[in-house]
Amino acid sequence: MSLKYAFFLGCVVPNRYPGIEAASRKVLPRIGVQLEDLTGASCCPAPGVIGSLSRDSWLTLASRNLCLAERLGLDVLTVCNGCFATLSDANSELKESSERRDRVTNLLHGIGLNYIGRVKVKHIAEVLGKEVGSKKIQEHVTKPLSNIRIAVHYGCHLVKPRVSRNFDNPENPTILDELVKALGAESVDYEEKMACCGAGGGVRSGVPDVSLRMLNEKLANIQNAKADCVVDVCPFCHLQFDKGQVELKQGYDISYSIPILHYLQALGLAMGYSVSELGLDQQYIWNQAIANKLGGGNGTK
């Protein structure tokens, strides 16, 4: 089986959490997912904040990114829920509304691009869960995360709204829990598991105190479940969980120490890559407890 995708980086992955980019580039080709860079791609742009300011601009810029993938003749792969939401929603909107498509196509012609509508947009969780499959992932696990208790965070835009995403149950999804189990780890249940991290819709930047109140509740529930770490598939949730712990400490004197791993970083650990190769030691939160549990050399900073 050979899968090949146009790799859409977005903003937060290359510019704030390059460890997730490194993990993608190391891990995916080894499990049969080839990546080709979408050279010159921009911000998706962010569905919440930019879509809220100007839906027309949001759609126009998203369509350019889709055109770049069309030029490569490859479906788009994102490792971010926000980019996934923007690119797949924009793709649908351009296909469904001829009026909007005509307007955008007109602008694209001005820069020598043409939207045809022949590429699909895939999220990494969907590709790993449905195309690669847990069984194949298991075959590549050399260092199972056997004693690690993981709190899975899906992130809202991966599964909602169901009419657009249509690949897992929006209120009770299982795709990511299954992928975590494939690494030999335990996926722990916790209260309000599907609750929003509080970052989306421009709330993190626009109304930070409200955003952190939502995060605090999430982290408290995860801590109560005695999880060792969080595994997510959205770099923006990732930023909220990781940097948000520092902000909660600084602004409200509330302390947590819960490391945050993108699924590809967790997969990387299970395939034998070190903490530093996956950029986990570059993040705000890393601790000795999880380093000890990982043990065997790759747990050290």
Binding site: P14, N15, R16, T39, G40, S42, V49, I111, P161, R162
Partner: protein, 195 residues
């Protein structure tokens, strides 16, 4: 002192206000808010409303009743994280997130933008990334064996000029400019509307 004539006219006036604004929102976003039956499932499901006085149902109600200024110039519509739980659970299938986004787009025309969003928008225009690279992350990239600057619009001046052109043509700068020059923000009345 109210005359008998104005008392009789008042209900008609409210009906006409509702039609104007609610229909404008419905047309702009393609989601019919007049279908809302005010059950409050959206409010009960809202993670933001759990921690604030934000009430999704109330936003829709005010929009239906034609309270244009209160909705568009107030802070409340900016408290939605776009998590879509309300849309998932709405018994009338109303895409509430799209309604909120439509209201936000309309709010930009009366200066409703939050200051922090201006910075994000300018980042997008100037660099092609809402979250651009910084020296700290260039350093992190190099340590990971990645190129110092990612192979995105950050690595191509041609790509950046395409982004500029598209955003200008799509009216992005005009939208920002309008939002900046209007600047009329008021908080919506917290009580007394009996809605």
């Amino acid at each position: 002192m109210a005359t008998a004539k104005t008392d009789l006219e008042a209900p008609r006036k409210i009906v006409s206000r509702r039609n104007d604004f609610a229909n404008e929102v419905t047309k702009a976003g393609g989601v019919n808010i007049n279908k809302c039956l005010q059950c409050g499932r959206c409010t009960a499901s809202c993670p933001s409303g759990k921690h604030t006085a934000y009430r999704t149902r109330m936003i829709i109600r005010r929009a239906m009743a034609g309270f244009r200024e209160e909705v568009l110039a107030g802070d409340d519509i900016w408290l939605c994280t776009t998590c879509y739980t309300c849309y998932e659970r709405c018994p009338r299938g109303i895409d509430v997130v799209k309604v909120i986004q439509t209201l936000r787009n309309m709010s930009m025309r009366v200066g409703g933008m939050l200051p922090a969003h201006r910075a994000v928008a300018l980042n997008l225009y100037k660099t092609g990334h809402a979250v651009p690279i910084d020296p700290d992350n260039k350093d992190k990239r190099l340590k990971l064996g990645l190129p110092e600057v990612p192979p995105t619009v950050h690595s191509s001046s041609i790509a950046l000029s395409e982004v500029h052109e598209l955003l200008e043509q799509a009216g992005f700068l005009d939208v920002l400019e309008t939002a900046l020059t209007k600047q009329i923000r008021v908080r919506p009345p917290e009580e007394g509307l009996f809605l």
